[in-house]
Amino acid sequence: MRINSLEALKDYKSRLCGVSSGKTSILMSLGTCGLAAGGAKVADAIRAELDKGLSGKYEAVSVGCMGLCYCEPTIELRDEAGRSAIYGHVTPEQIPAILAAGLDGEAAGATKVKRTWYYPEEEENKDGVLQARIALRNTGRIDPEKIDDYLKYDGYQALGKVLKTMAPEAVSQEILDAMLRGRGGAGFPTGKKWQFAAAQPKGQKYMICNADEGDPGAFMDRAVLEGDPHSVLEAMAIGAYAIGADKGIIYIRAEYPLAIERLQKAIKQAREMGFLGKGIFGTSFDFDIELKYGAGAFVCGEETALIHSIEGKRGEPTFKPPFPAIQGLWKKPTVVNNVETYANVAAIIRKGAAWFKSVGTSGSPGTKVFALAGKINCVGLVEVPMGTTLRDIIFGLGGGILNNRGFKAVQTGGPSGGCITTKNLDTPIDYETLKSIGSMMGSGGMIVMDEDNCMVNIARFFLDFTCDESCGKCTPCRIGNRRLYEMLTDICRGKGTEETLEELRTLSNVIKDTALCGLGQTSPNPVLSTLDNFFEEYEAHVKEKRCPAGVCTALLKFTINDNCIGCGLCAKNCPTGAISGKVKSKHVIDQDKCIKCGVCQQKCKFKAIDKK
């Protein structure tokens, strides 16, 4: 059925919400990581249990990622009054007990998880809850494959509102007033982008969604696309109306098959109900969306490269100006926004710019989704108001460092960002503060590192990534980053000198200053920020030829301590015959022969091998 007016949509919604089933929903988190953790088996167990006679009481709903990746498979019981109970690390065996316990009881052996978020659009933050979900408002609580679920949460009402009651200029203005900034990393004001494109003469224009999430360690876009695809479609239609585009393209990573499938379904449903296609909401506004697939190139997250990729070319960035808003896809005005940016749009239109600005900081209103990963207890997605401190995120939401090790640093902004240390844990983070402490927002990956991570090696890892993903067009990125990588490799292998450290910094600064695109300009950031914050670690590598974290193999020394009982197991397993000693007496390692493979340490049952 087609919806042709805002009233019809609201009617439809109230009809959907008005039907009470009296059942408690079992929300089953079945995003990529939920499935990888065994969510499908849990879902099967739930369905089997319902078939056994609980179908009058419960209803199973497949939802996207709840953000609780660390305790997947996750399920949430939720009744119509909104009361909820979340269980993590769920096994199929626990299901009968959990369902028997329901919302009020306790299921023995099952792990209950506290909800750490609230929905600013619907409720007040009462108990100092750290997460505020705007972009993730539906992710993890609706069935992404059912448009009705989206409509229940006011879906497509923002689109109806702009088409029926707002002039296109007013839409861009509202987004500008809300000070929504690009969540892909650079933080450019979204409303301004829209205004630039809107100011171009009428004609073919394009609205593009950048879903080429490539930051290693960032997966919020995937979560939104898998969990709430309609929010992106609706926002693209709103933006298209604002700039005068009739064609939308979602450029998505081919590595996200589930997201692709859900988007395809969502587009089909939206067309059927008249939210996409010709004459949307009974107006003269036409807009449709197609998917284009990436093919494995991180640099295609850069907008000019992304456009070239859609055009079927090598994803090489070109110099701006001209900006895509003036001359983009097929040389037509084009707006490129990222998934998370779009996910905020409908809420802003519904609730207004002033409401949006009440969340976050004055320069960066709203929230930011972060993907917490690395050496942290609660790996997952969190959406926090801008201005939240890293301490709250890492130790509050993240549950602290894995195995109670010491916190060393957190890398934000992926390969473009930098490391942040203890001294900045209490900085309220937004676009500007992150920059001022030598990192950047980036797409929101947050990788936590502990004392077992060598920061030189981490910098080298990021440079390896950049070298791999550089398009190779400009000199500083093509050759300069390679040279940085080689210098870092030298340092990790004990071949670096103090001059190497100096040159590392000088070359890093020149690359920042000269590279063509954002990838190249930010690629030295991990080097510079580790040099700034962990210089003593670099010095240990070059002066003492020592890796304090014990990671750089070439700098390690394996020795045998007094725990040795002379069993000979190490000597038997040593691939180079470097270990010798009499039976039942302490063995020794010939350092000249040792290749530092670590096999002896793995095999020793008496903790007699030291690695330093």
Binding site: A36, D215, P216, F219, I310, K313, R314, W330, A373
Partner: protein
């Protein structure tokens, strides 16, 4: 087309048809279904990436003959097609093993020791990253973040995901790959 010096040049499509009739028909049917505009090279180029995706899906890789057919059908030069294939890491012009073992080298997996898994696999398979074993069974590759950071380090074998992998698990992972 035969030319007067009697060299016989077989057209790429004919050759491919002769070698792989079913796959070739599938590819040409796909391309015929694209809304190509005759003479509009710029717009038609926009279908290149999805055509290559499909072609690689059908053939498993993108041999020269496939590139030639795509070039002829889309009206693009062979050099630009190769330029695109060699740019994107998803595409390959060499046949790859039946079991594509991809170790995630995203940051989260890296900090949790993915490099050790790669080393173990290299040693066990006797191939380098990006290579296929001589028996065409295994391909060893690296991925940049599959977004399953909670399971780091992650190894993917075709579509199967192994989480929290340790070097000790490599033998079992390989043993799971039975034809």
């Amino acid at each position: 087309m035969t030319c007067c010096c009697e060299c016989s040049k077989e057209k790429a499509l004919d050759k491919l048809m002769r070698l792989e009739p079913e796959k070739t028909s599938e590819l040409t049917a796909f391309i015929d279904g694209l809304p190509l505009v005759a003479g509009d090279v710029e717009k038609n180029r926009g279908f290149l990436v999805e055509t290559l995706h499909r072609a690689q899906g059908i053939f498993g890789y993108l041999p020269v003959e496939v590139q030639q057919v795509v070039s002829e059908r889309l009206g693009l030069t062979r050099s630009e097609i190769y330029g695109v294939i060699s740019f994107y890491s998803y595409f390959t012009d060499k046949p790859i093993g039946r079991y594509k073992i991809n170790v995630c080298l995203g940051t989260a997996c890296f900090v949790k020791g993915a490099a050790k898994i790669v080393d173990e696999l290299k040693a066990k398979l006797g191939v380098d990253e990006g290579e296929t074993t001589a028996d065409q069974k295994f391909f060893l590759g690296a991925l940049r973040c599959v977004g399953s950071c909670s399971l780091a380090p992650v190894v993917m074998v075709n579509n199967r995901v192994y989480g929290n992998v340790t070097p000790d698990m490599v033998d079992q992972i390989l043993a799971d790959c039975e034809d």
